[in-house]
Symmetry: C2
Subunit: 333 residues, 2 copies
DNA sequence: GGGCGAATTGCAACCGGTTCCTAAACCGGT
DNA sequence: ACCGGTTTAGGAACCGGTTGCAATTCGCCC
């Protein structure tokens, strides 16, 4: 059923190598053979086997796309952009869902078995060790949405979360908030820690400020709602909260509105990510946008570079954030 | 760098075939050789190449997962469930983003090149021709969220959209609505047409009813918002609307609330899909749930069956819908 | 027409497994 | 120790390409 090199070669009356060469860009074939081969190939509906070619060349044009974040709405956009970017470069994404109950080591073994050209880890909550293990296993890897470190093992493309914390603090201060809450994501997440560090830093420069800290158990709507409920039950609220991400913020917002609190009248809220729902009329969340498209473009570019040139030096790319002003913070004073 | 069969064979002091057999379930190897091989393999960190094995066996354990729906929030859940289901069965998803500007034929060629074991098309808006073309190209295929037809070419797993229309109509009628609107998805989509057909059918059984029909240009928040704005600008609204899906409904809901209309006080709204955001406190959308997990489990099961037994007869599986009552319809009378 | 270097071509080995087939090792029984 | 019937092991061909190398062909000039 499948048409092979040999079939085309016989039909075109040339050798198998000749056929292979006409399909290998930059190989030496005469115009005459090329056209004979191309015609035969077209007649037979020949498409070279990526498996066989991967086997002999060592490059499969497969990119392992690993994430553990299949429930956060922001990842819809992330997957869309990643798959497009990868496809546009002539590669294909082999998707790995690294949810709680799957073994990271097994995933790495699998990626090696399929000899993917490179791995892109797309997650801010996956430990840096995973990417490092990929590298140790000989897989070129880049960590998108990863954490910048002083001595990085693998290339990281993302944002400066400490700066994100500062930016949020500045936004709140500029709008006259002084009794301020940090409603972060999971306390153990590096994103949470970094943003909190930046947030504290900036508030510390304003003596009269009060900072209260609390954490949602996961980056999810319900965790945000639960934590905001808890805060409401345990005394007066702060004037405004910097939330771990948009989906946490939306959870908090829902609880506040349901309890009859006005946002931004009674309480201010600022999120993080600028996911699509943040701009819904029902939501209109003020937030900090991370440049997804750039992060992804750079990640894919680096993954490719690394797969072609394994000795490419490890770099970190931190891209700029933007404050997106909508309706959950009072206007600047 | 990569450890091969040969390396393991030499180290274990056996033939390459012996090694291959210890890694092939159900092959005949003595306990003694097996343990020698396993030890050697462990010492060397050997993992058999999926490429090579795919090349000789013809099965790659790759499943092509094709969709054109990377922006609808419901697909986050869909991708999560699909990737898990596929991985749990020992296969891996090769993701194909079939967005507007990508060539379907190229995608099929690509899937053949990688000799995927089967293709799952996950989309209600992708033409049935795509799946049919896969089949014609010799790829086992199942169409998840596809449309049931009288003489199906490929297996379809999904829901009965005509029944969905009826169900929505019954829900509205039962709550006393008589002046009723259909705010569908794109007019050309089969889902829209089928649901409208069922909707009409059921309303036709209630003589005193008025039905108005309109369509959002895409299954998206903004299209829903735009269409609802248009309706508001062009005269009095119906008492309640059946929306093309949840995201359209949420767009419409946002516009209504912004305009000061009460939902469900002034206007009722019912969506479709039961995506996660439908249950957010800010939204609490009454909707019709399609059983994603079952659709996906069945789809994956069929894809596997088909890949192992290509002559499996073509079946259609339509799974039951559930009305999820939240807060955008007045109570049943 | 002969000679020369460059462009093409085909052969054959190889990528890393799988599997058919035959030969060897093994088993219990006598 | 020998026999007959199973297992098990190894050799070799094959899956469908790629590529180094040597041989051939080509174009061009004298």
């Amino acid at each position: 059923m499948t048409v092979t090199l040999k079939d085309v070669a016989e039909r075109a009356g040339v050798s198998r190598s000749a056929v292979s060469r006409t399909f290998t860009p930059g190989a030496s074939v005469s115009a005459k053979t090329r056209s004979k081969v191309e015609q035969a190939a077209a007649e037979l509906g020949y498409a070279p086997s990526a498996l066989a070619s991967g086997l002999s060349t060592g490059r499969t044009k497969l990119i392992g796309l690993v994430s553990n974040n299949f429930r956060n709405p922001i990842f819809l956009e992330v997957f869309d952009l990643f798959t497009r970017a990868i496809q546009d470069r002539g590669l294909r994404p082999l998707l790995v869902n690294l949810s709680e109950d799957t073994d990271p080591e097994a995933a790495i073994r699998m990626l090696r078995q399929y000899s993917v050209d490179a791995v892109i880890v797309a997650s801010s909550t996956l430990s840096a060790a995973f990417a490092a293990n990929c590298k140790a296993a000989g897989l070129p890897v880049v960590h998108a949405f990863g954490r910048a470190t002083r001595y990085p093992e693998v290339p990281v493309v993302g944002i400066d979360n400490v700066e994100a914390g500062r930016m949020a603090a500045r936004a709140l201060l500029a709008r006259g908030y002084r009794d301020i809450g940090f409603l972060g994501g999971p306390a153990g997440a590096t994103t949470t820690q970094d943003r909190l560090a930046g947030f504290r830093q900036e508030l510390a420069r304003h003596p009269g400020c009060r900072l209260r800290e609390s954490f949602a158990s996961t980056y999810s709507h319900d965790a945000g709602a639960v934590e905001m409920s808890r805060l409401m039950d345990s005394g007066p609220l702060a004037e405004a909260y910097f939330c771990g991400d948009d989906v946490i913020a939306i959870g908090a917002l829902g609880v506040l509105r349901k309890a009859g609190r006005e946002v931004p009248g009674d309480v201010g809220l600022i999120g993080f990510n600028d996911m699509e729902a943040a701009s819904w009329d029902l939501v209109t969340l003020t937030t900090i946008r991370q440049p997804l498209d750039e992060i992804i473009a750079v990640s894919v570019g680096q993954a490719i570079a690394l797969s072609e040139q394994p000795e490419t030096p490890v770099t970190q790319t931190l891209l700029p954030l933007t404050l997106i002003e909508r309706g959950t913070l009072r206007p600047e004073m």
